[in-house]
Chain length 250, copies 2
DNA sequence: CAGCATGATGTTGTGCACAACATAAGAAGC
DNA sequence: GCTTCTTATGTTGTGCACAACATCATGCTG
């Protein structure tokens, strides 16, 4: 199938910035999409990604796809092996202990370093997330939980203007974002535990929102820190209880 | 040589096998070389790197070179603009304030999180750096200072076993490594200031070496933290004094 | 002579074909 | 029947040619 040059170019993202973001726009779009799929376990850990399939899906050649895969590999989410394939990184709770150990500290730094001035719009966004959170508690869906958790992370991360800190926190977050869904998928029958996770997260969002309302970003950081640590502790416990031998062969 | 089926892991990243290394070896070699050149100001900030030249130098095509450039761009050391070229990121003291703000905190974390067990070999490496430091003080050379500083960073970074922390610290370090050389190149005539920098760094190495000898990695982290902060403070002051209008047009 | 349009030139981004590599299947030998 | 070598197949890595894009020079026009 031959692709029209002038015709397909405009289809990209007309509402945004068509002229400024030509090639870079495609790159970001593919990158964000693949990262989301990996973190939402649409691509299971250990599964192979074929560059040609991705190229066909995004209507581009293998070359730009490979650029994205290289970046994703640098982020630690993929691993390309010559002659084998590009496989999604497998995640282990013990290996993520170091990442969490660092995320805990960075969360506190977000509330401490170069704080963002709190305005009404920022508070409104926090309250919006909290509302979505309340709604989620009634309808237990691990996937929507992950999405809200993701949005909340970005919002919390915007509490600091320190660009490197934000970038690093984001990177580490996406390295650990999958572990909750993975653990939840194993404990799917235990609705009770998942509900506990939901309400716990709801409390975290509520507390942090309140702290932001009071303009106390340091307190928000401390709350976030404590919740990240406890969340990992619960995941670790559930992982040991659920049995390490997960029957997830490719 | 037949390879076991169960052993999926190949040579991976064997340290010290230059000739037999496959694609990944070339990649690492080119990456390390370019990064070193950027941080040693062999490639001045703002200068353009032509992919074809690099391809010819490393005896490869443009394709693997572009892989390296993409990673370097992700690290923040390069910036590729379509139709213009791949230019070395310009560094400004004010923009690096956030990076230093974070590096200061991470330095303390290196001495706090997952400390490496201190053995005789580790102490010996610190003493070796200290010896090179003493030698450097007698022969003032900003370039060798940067190299020793680089080696010392890697050594200090090895005080923690937290892999993400090490990786992030390394990344941030290389983002800031150039600023000292850049500032020093402007104040080249002020030999006295540079000598002060040398002796200050010598004290830092001495103090941290002593702390490591005592097995007090937390103290090493605190010393490191203080010195990073003071170093940036001096650079900032020198930058303002030397005049922000650096006549370094390409 | 100033200002602007237009082409020339050089760069990165993309597409495509082939090489390098690893694995899996199949056949030969014991 | 089992092992082992060979072959087939599929994947990523590389090389090369062209397109997209930006800048600069040049000529035209006012």
């Amino acid at each position: 199938m031959r692709r029209e040059r002038t015709g397909l170019m405009t289809v990209d993202q007309g509402a945004g910035r068509p002229a400024e973001e030509g090639a870079r726009g495609r790159f970001e779009r593919i990158y964000q999409t693949l990262r989301m799929r990996i973190c939402l376990l649409d691509y299971a850990p250990g599964s192979r990604l074929r560059e040609e399939d991705l190229a066909e899906e995004f209507r581009v050649s293998r070359t730009p796809v490979r650029r994205v895969l290289v970046k994703l590999e640098a982020e630690g989410l993929l691993r390309s092996v010559h002659g084998v394939g590009t496989i999604v990184t497998d995640i282990e709770v013990d290996a993520l202990a170091q990442v969490y150990e660092l995320r805990v500290e960075l969360a506190e730094l977000v509330g401490k370093l170069s704080p963002t001035p709190v305005d009404a719009a920022l508070i409104a966004r926090f309250r919006e997330i909290r509302a979505r959170c309340d709604e989620m508690v009634h309808e237990g869906d691990p996937r929507t939980f992950s999405r809200i958790n993701m949005d909340f992370f970005h919002l919390f991360n915007s509490l600091t203007t320190n660009a490197p800190l934000r970038e690093i926190s984001e990177r580490l977050y996406y390295q650990t974002a999958r572990i909750w869904l993975k653990a939840a998928s194993r404990l799917k029958n235990f609705e009770e535990l998942i509900h506990t996770e939901f309400t716990t997260f709801q409390r975290e969002v509520t507390d942090i929102t309140e702290a932001v309302e009071h303009g106390d970003l340091a307190a928000a950081g401390h709350v976030r820190r404590a919740h990240i640590a406890m969340s990992f502790s619960r995941i670790r416990k559930a992982s040991k209880a659920g049995g390490p031998g997960g029957a997830d062969a490719d």
